[in-house]
Symmetry: C2
Subunit: 192 residues, 2 copies
Amino acid sequence: MMAQGTTRRQIVEAADDLFYRQGFEHTSFADIARVVDISRGNFYHHFKSKDDILDAVIKTRLDRTQHMLADWEEEGTTPKDRIRSYIKILLTNWSMIKDYGCPVGTLCTELAKLNHASKTEANKIFTLFRVWLRNQFRQLGHKKDADALAMHVLSWSQGVATLGNAFDDYKYVKQEVDKMCAWLDTLSVRTK
Amino acid sequence: MMAQGTTRRQIVEAADDLFYRQGFEHTSFADIARVVDISRGNFYHHFKSKDDILDAVIKTRLDRTQHMLADWEEEGTTPKDRIRSYIKILLTNWSMIKDYGCPVGTLCTELAKLNHASKTEANKIFTLFRVWLRNQFRQLGHKKDADALAMHVLSWSQGVATLGNAFDDYKYVKQEVDKMCAWLDTLSVRTK
DNA sequence: GTCTATACCTGGATAGAC
DNA sequence: GTCTATCCAGGTATAGAC
């Protein structure tokens, strides 16, 4: 009765959420089945293994990230505006970050420890942000150090997410976000 | 035949290492038993549960951290020297960080996702660094913003560890360490 | 495409001999 | 203090009916 692929999509959606909140390894088929309301045996009609579900989850995250970056590209009128969109996710997603950390960073570190085959794929989510940020800094006129600046913003925000999560401290996160924005303001804008 | 408490210490040592490299949940009694070369049933003479082993591991980490901080306190002649000792661990421990990330950050995020009873204890390792760094900044004459500066250094280094691990990129880590040291140099030293 | 039943394994934990 | 034997829950995965 259900439209083609709906169950599959529901599984990926639930797994995406649970992998984030509980971790990949700690999430069982039973957990996912409870959310989607299907039987456990049914998974294997859609996926051949748990790793297969993980791959699908990573794919949707890559997709979603790309769309988000494209949206920011449209919304922001200047490169600095757009970079600020990135910085601000620490605040807009705070209610999740405080409990579960950064979705990208926590998945990558978990897969690194598991030495999981898909860790390279997961790292590509970081790369999407990296390339996008680099591009923004290039547009600001920072040709040579665009990548270093992108990595700097990436690590800064990543650390704030981790510490914000550990200490559950919104005030600190807000403070660091303000610092990041102030730092961004001091960056020169070079026009050719 | 073995001296009192030797086996226990060996278990904690092996668990400490494996929890770091594989994660707490992914490490089984069998894994630890293989390293220490004891039978699985033997664990329960020394600990009443796996969580008990985790608590012991966290305790030794707290201990070890305190000693390291005390050593840095002695070795460094100025507060800036001492803070540099902290920053440099990213380089001295690089061979581990590149594969397994920061021992403190990765444990705290894992326990946060598991919503584990010991996560508060694990967070105290972060607090040790925080208090120590704060103290250094106070000695530099930064009375009001000492804690904010400490948290800034903590998050910065944490992010570098996470991204360095994901991208396995030593050059980037070195670059960020240099940036952190340069930033430290620009900080004013106020004497009363 | 979804279900039930079940195989098979590994995990943590217990009991009791030595 | 260490061992072996064992229990039981839970995990992934498979087979086959509907």
